[in-house]
Amino acid sequence: MAKVRKTKVPMKEQPVEERIRNFNEVPLGYTPEEAMEEASRCLGCKDAPCVKGCPVGINIPNFIKEIKEGNFKKAIEIIKQDNSLPAICGRVCPQEDQCEKECRLNKIGEPVAIGRLERFVADWEAEQGIERPNLPPKKGIKVAVIGSGPAGLTAAGELAKMGYDVTIFEALHDTGGVLRYGIPEFRLPKRIIDREVEYIKMLGVKIEVNAIVGKTITIEQIWNDGFQAMFIGTGAGLPKFMNISGENLNGIYSANEFLTRVNLMKAYLFPEYDTPIKVGKRVAVIGGGNVAMDSVRTAKRLGAEQAMIIYRRTEKEMPARIEEIERAKEEGIIFHFLTNPVRYIGDEKGNVVAVECIRMELGEPDASGRRSPVPIPNSEFTMEVDTVVVAIGTGPNPVLLQAFPELKLNKWGYIEADPETGATSVPGVYAGGDIVTGAATVISAMGAGKRSAKAIDEYLQKKLKGGI
């Protein structure tokens, strides 16, 4: 056999000059030949360290081996045993911190492109037309799922496959949670979410949109409607602000508002779609995570001449995926590191016109081991801006929690749940995803949904035998 190539088979991308003017997906995917070539780099390690890096433990060497041999159908079946949303995970998992981080090939070069291969087979399957799954016999037992993000969708799908009668209650008018309203089209096309949701519906799951639990329907009403158990996957949707002077000026958005307008409401197609968005010439995005990267690249596509990131630490500490930081750089995003806003300055109409910032330096490592930024005295300076997006994190949305005071919360205000099962302080009520962990990842939310589905099944079997 020829020598193993040291680098990943490259994936074609939309050229920079084009993509900064549209919302189409940036990476274009592998051809079957490219996928098979990349798959042939895998050593098929017996102890498979990569599997330990995957939060849902996909049998990576096995599915890659099937791709290498051209058995794409087999490959997708192996993935689907552990991951019901592979087209999504293959695109948005932070592979460099998970499966690919552990890959043995890191010793000689780049790891196997596990995420790209996963995406390839998932897209290949979709092209064949997804088969109607074999539905199990109905048990006639109702389970409620609150929230249709990755945690809720996964829990619902798994429970339906076990024969439960599942209803998802979703607050917004459409499904997917952050997948739809947060992550932009150019990273995760909406048709992929539609496809996954269609599959969940094919499994018999009922989805009620415009149903805010705690408002439209109460917890008591859910129990009274005959639901026997509940999974809560309501996410961490409460936007945080810095509470500095001028933050309510016009032109300053939370990342949630900015991205929701563009993604869920399709403001990038305004005025064909009714929801407006206003993006000026100089846009500053505050923060250094995926949300900040998505916001700044969105601003660029909406016509910003200067789209910049203001981040209080250095590039090394940025929590965003490396791949996305690289793409942002290619797209001409300007980075101001070790910089933090201290106040916003407005004109007489209440529009933001400038941000005053202070320079930072890295001090001693904090509890998390990261060196915490400290302001350098008298280093303030101002930058002209006409749009600001605050992307400094989110907290638990209070609507459901207020309506369900019996639920025990942890000290950060998230639901206290058993990490193995998602069991909460209320019998029959399970929770998982961002509402338990705080903002995390798609795959960890899915993993939680899946573990809870199993635990709910065990709970209900016991309950119906009269054990509870």
Binding site: H173, I212, Y273, P276
Partner: protein, 278 residues
């Protein structure tokens, strides 16, 4: 889909719709609102629950045509339906037995004041109402509001009906005459609520106003609706929409309402030209 069961023009550019939405009606209370989206390409707009019928499973909304979406809404007929209709959102009004209370509705604010007046009346309060509009042809629901008030003052800016003057002048009259008013509610344009607050403050009567900033989700997820109340940033949809008027920064809210002025104009012009061509 949410069907429009009844539609009625109340005044020039003001419409009343009764919509089938049993789940919303089941839990609706005075002071809450809904978010409506007409069709797939539509925006989400908040409208106050002006009335509800739990048995029939209906919600009544009253809206004024001010731009593209409200205009498009006004063209819908009985039997048509809305794509999305979600609620009840926001916190209900705090209704308790206080004694004498004053409710003030200005313009399209007459509609949202009605369920509050009714709830106050049902809780055994002596309810004094003030409703006002620019002129008599813009007044509506006079009889409906009268039924749930012990006393009702009607005013118009031009004097074409009732007392001539703004609702704030009528408020002054009431406060001068009666010293036992325990609390008041005022709903209407921001500028009216701002001045109503000044009057109530002058007479030391606690005042509640219902804020209507630009919203997107209506559940506390986006922060579009943020406003400064008592020096703190709060979300009108999840912390409100009702707040102590004396704590609200009205000037900021008025500016925030203009955030998308240019875009609203573009949408409106485009809609008019398309309708014209059709």
């Amino acid at each position: 889909m949410y069907t429009i069961l009844k539609s009625k023009a109340l005044a020039p550019n003001i419409y009343e719709f009764t919509i089938r939405a049993p789940l919303v009606a089941k839990n609706a209370k005075a002071g809450q609102f809904v978010i409506v989206r007409i069709h797939e390409k539509g925006e989400r707009i908040p409208l106050t629950i002006a009335d509800f019928d739990k048995n029939e499973g209906t919600i009544t909304i009253v809206f004024q045509v001010v731009g593209k979406t409200t205009h498009e809404l006004s063209t819908l007929k009985e039997g048509d339906s809305l794509k999305d209709f979600v609620g009840p959102l926001g916190n209900p009004s705090e209704i308790e037995r206080l004694g004498s209370v004053l409710v003030v509705g200005g313009g399209v604010g007459i509609a949202p004041i009605f369920p509050i007046a009714r709830a106050l009346k049902e809780s055994g309060n002596h309810v004094i109402g003030i409703i006002g509009a620019r002129s008599s042809d813009l007044l509506f629901w006079e009889d409906k509001v009268k039924e749930v008030c012990d006393e009702l003052i009607v005013c118009t800016d031009d004097g074409s009906k009732g007392v001539k003057g703004f609702v704030t002048q009528a408020m002054e009259m009431v406060f001068k005459e009666k010293s036992d008013i325990k609390r008041c509610w005022a709903i209407g344009p921001l500028i009216m609520m701002k001045f109503a607050t000044q009057v109530a403050k002058k007479y030391n009567v606690p005042i509640t106003v219902s804020l209507n900033p630009i919203m997107v989700d209506g559940t506390g997820m986006c922060g579009a609706c943020r406003c400064t109340v008592g020096g703190k940033t709060l979300f009108a949809c999840s912390h409100g929409p009702e707040f102590d008027g004396t704590l609200v920064d009205f000037d900021e809210l008025i500016k925030r309402g203009e955030r998308f002025k240019e875009e609203e104009k573009i949408a409106w012009e485009r809609y008019k030209s398309m309708k014209g061509g059709a």
